[in-house]
């Protein structure tokens, strides 16, 4: 059930990328797609009533949540930040050159 909700968010983001005309809207939809993937990764690593993966003391042997997907999410979050920064930089320069964020306008001006 939770996986289904997470894939719903993925599809909402994907529909935003495919349908929207505005450059900033596409950037926002891409970020939402990435957020849903991070959530899916965190959901995959979750173990029922387990502790967060910080070892309190050397002795006791508690069962921890799976640390590997969390490491992957950390890497993916910074990759998402890097992509968003570059996309927004491109959008700003495109607005500076074309004067609009609308893809159809840009294609018409490009000729």
């Amino acid at each position: 059930m939770t996986y289904l909700l997470c894939s719903l968010l993925f599809l909402v983001g994907l529909s935003g990328v495919l349908l929207k005309r505005n450059l900033i809207k596409i950037v926002i939809s891409l970020t939402i797609v990435e957020y849903s993937l991070f959530m899916f990764l965190a959901l995959v690593g979750y173990k029922q009533n387990a502790f967060p993966p910080i070892v309190k003391s050397v002795a006791e042997e508690a069962n921890y949540v799976d640390p590997l997907p969390q490491a992957l999410v950390l890497t993916a979050i910074v990759i998402g930040l890097a992509t968003t920064a570059l996309l927004v930089a491109l959008a700003v320069r495109i607005y500076e050159k074309y004067g609009t964020f609308d893809i159809r306008e840009i294609r018409r001006l490009k000729g």
Partner: protein
């Protein structure tokens, strides 16, 4: 716990829909913030404090960059006239997404069900993590010792993005 998780996810989906449909770009950016900070809460619920710390901070920074760009340009969404092409592509995309929902739903039933992952590689991380790397934070030991090569690649991604932003935002590209 399960109920809180579902509520948070519904909130995030609502925030996502508002972000995509809203007319004003600033309100779109703010509702994207709702999705991002909702994700922080989901990470906390899923026992992932490391991710919550990084997500809340990175989300703030993404909003700063996005809103700085919007203030430099324009806030109004481009006018979307209801031409035939827009409606057709809308319907086609919705149909495609409904099919994808059923496919993903069918597949996710066969994954190990939520809450009981079958650990293989990370059993060793949990048992020997503290002993082999000395770091109490197992996620930090996975990031900087077991899979440190990933983190080198990932710091390079951030370095490349900064160099790319400089390349795109510089005043004159060509000399003549």
């Amino acid at each position: 716990m399960f109920v809180i998780l579902t509520l948070l996810m519904i909130l995030m989906i609502a925030g996502a829909v508002v972000a995509i449909q809203s007319k004003n770009l600033l309100s779109a950016a703010v509702s994207m913030g709702v999705v991002g900070f909702g994700l922080t809460l989901v990470f906390l619920v899923l026992q992932a404090p490391d991710l919550a710390v990084v997500q809340i901070v990175v989300e703030t920074l993404t909003l700063i960059i996005l809103i700085a760009a919007i203030l430099k340009t324009t806030m109004k969404e481009s006018k979307v006239e209801k031409s035939a092409v827009v409606i057709y592509s809308g319907i086609a995309t919705v149909v495609l997404l409904v099919i994808l929902v059923f496919v993903l739903g069918g597949v996710f039933k066969q994954l190990p069900d939520f809450g009981h992952p079958d650990l293989r590689m990370s059993e060793y991380y949990i048992e020997q993590g503290l002993e082999k790397t000395g770091a109490a934070n197992l996620v930090a030991s996975v990031i900087l010792d077991f899979r440190a090569y990933d983190t080198l690649g990932e710091a390079t991604v951030l370095f490349t993005a900064v160099m790319g932003t400089f390349a795109v935002l510089r005043r004159k590209g060509r000399k003549e």
